[in-house]
Point group: C2
Chain length 338, copies 2
């Protein structure tokens, strides 16, 4: 590995990208992708169910392959690259974290809703005990004002996070909104600051460059855009753009391009595009899991599901509040009849 990298990339196609293929990764696919990523000198490779360790379930989607087998496979070919795992407290537990560490995972990314960093304390501390590098991952970062994000990031830092991430889970943030978040974090925490973007508004690259410009030095990308919604910042494209800008990632551009074209593209059943559904989620700023509920409610009340999602976004409805979806649909139908 080179040691003059300006930015350390975490490749998330084997975790976030799992959403794009309904969690159907096989051991062979993970071996091929992780090996090629390691050959291209990508420093961190995240491997887990799309919703983190232990995400495989009827609620979040069943994995085709036990994620521990996938982690083990990735570790076996990772070389100098480090395997990362994602864990959402409440879905994954300390048990899975330990199992992943025992298999050779070197980084634990503990993800919470942007206002709920306190639930990450135990997991971050335990990951440190296990000798892992730790990341605090503040999801749905558009849902909190800047000072709240700073407060939550400081909590994660106090628990032992080596890096705190602003995560634009819904692909909702505009570049200036990313700037103010990263700038505030850089001014307030002493650890690394990272950014994870989604492309629902075709702004993943713009937001990533804004984050880097403000001092973020940990960046997530997904090769060939494999990720939830419209996918993430496309890693091989990001490497090209950063090369053009003279920013060192240490990642081999040609190898990333070849991996994207020859190994990852054939895994995708449907190429990643910005569709009506993913655009709606990014515009509204809501969880992708709301989409299906909203469609059902829209049909029942004969309203446009987009109006429901936009209203849910305005009300900052979060996961667990799915009951609100039917209420909102009913209100829209009622208002229309007046």
């Amino acid at each position: 590995m080179t040691d003059n990298r300006d930015i350390l990339i975490t490749e998330v196609a084997l975790r976030d990208g799992s959403h794009a293929i309904a969690h159907q990764y096989t051991v062979d696919q993970v071996l091929n992708v992780a090996k090629a990523l390691s050959d291209a000198n990508v420093p961190y490779i995240e491997v887990s169910h799309g919703d983190g360790l232990a995400g495989s379930s009827l609620q979040y989607g069943l994995s085709k392959t036990d994620e521990m087998k996938l982690i083990e496979a990735a570790v076996s070919v990772a070389g100098e690259s480090k395997i990362a795992v994602l864990l959402l407290p409440g879905i994954g537990t300390l048990h899975e974290l330990k199992e992943a560490a025992n298999l050779g995972a070197k980084m634990a990314r503990i993800a919470t809703h942007v206002t709920e960093a306190d639930v990450s304390a135990q997991h971050i501390a335990y990951a440190k005990e296990l000798g892992m590098e730790t990341v605090g991952f503040l999801m749905m970062s558009h849902m909190a004002p800047v000072d709240k994000i700073v407060e939550q990031a400081k909590l994660m830092e106090s628990y032992g996070a080596d890096t705190v991430y602003t995560v634009d889970s819904a692909g909702y943030l505009l570049p200036d909104q990313v700037r103010e978040r990263i700038r505030a974090l850089k001014q307030s925490v002493g650890v690394n600051v990272g950014f994870h973007g989604h492309n629902n508004l075709s702004l993943a690259m713009a937001n990533t460059l804004a984050a880097i410009d403000e001092g973020a030095n940990r960046i997530d990308g997904s090769v060939r855009c494999l990720g939830a919604g419209a996918g993430n910042t496309q890693t091989e494209v990001l490497i090209a753009v950063l090369e053009r800008m003279g920013i060192q990632t240490g990642v081999d551009l040609y190898k990333m391009m070849d991996l994207a074209e020859e190994i990852v593209a054939p895994i995708l059943h449907v190429p990643q595009e910005i569709t009506r559904d993913s655009l709606t989620l990014g515009y509204a700023g809501v969880y992708s899991s709301f989409a299906l509920h909203a469609k059902r409610a829209a049909e029942k009340f004969n309203v446009d599901s987009r109006d429901i999602l936009i209203e849910l976004g305005k009300r900052k409805v979060v996961g667990g509040q799915e009951d609100m979806i039917v209420d909102v649909a009913a209100e829209i139908a009622k208002a229309r009849m007046k």
Copy 2:
């Protein structure tokens, strides 16, 4: 039409998007797309062969349908929207321009290489005579320094262009490069300034927002990203982003989303992605027509076609200089043997 639009959008899916489907548009498809665009209140709809009027040829690709039939069809359903045509002097002639005007086309966009505005004089003047609104379209704008672009734009303004465009044909420009170009044009010309971006580096949206921030008020987009290379700024996504920013386009967001999903997506044989080839073109900053030549030369000399394209970009090789491609391949092969 609303009259408080901040930005006037030109939809190019029926012209630039023609590249994405090998110029196979049918009259029915154009009728459906143009009607839906008009219903969504898009002010300008461009219809022509991908390489402009009279582009249908063995060299540039044969159109399935005579473009005049497509223009006529689009005009018949355009309502308040205006049909635009693109013309590259040297490919199209005054004859085709007149024919298009007679069919009801209301805007002529005269496109030249960024350093060759002088060849547009006659065509811009003639379009004015025909009563058309006129646009000077400076292609491959990354290939000239800012002062050269200003000089060329002023020429177009002097010929009668109502608008001058910075065109990032190769999808090569970075947002700061767009900023400096648009800023200089705004300071130097009295007419409207426009921007046309391509997404090869996943920066079409970022570049478009940079252009608008610097005062561009004419913007090109292509619904569902239909365009050469990795496609253009995705129109329906742009409308959503501008709504979020409080910038008025007068275009109906839901109708654009529905059109993209229900009418345009089914036309595409292969969804628009950023592939190895389109990324290479954007990274190198060369004409898409060089790609095939470079692959052939790469095979002959056993070198990587990307190295050839990057070197051609550095040397600012332009269309008509295809002989250089083999020379460059030979040089790379020779240098490697040393």
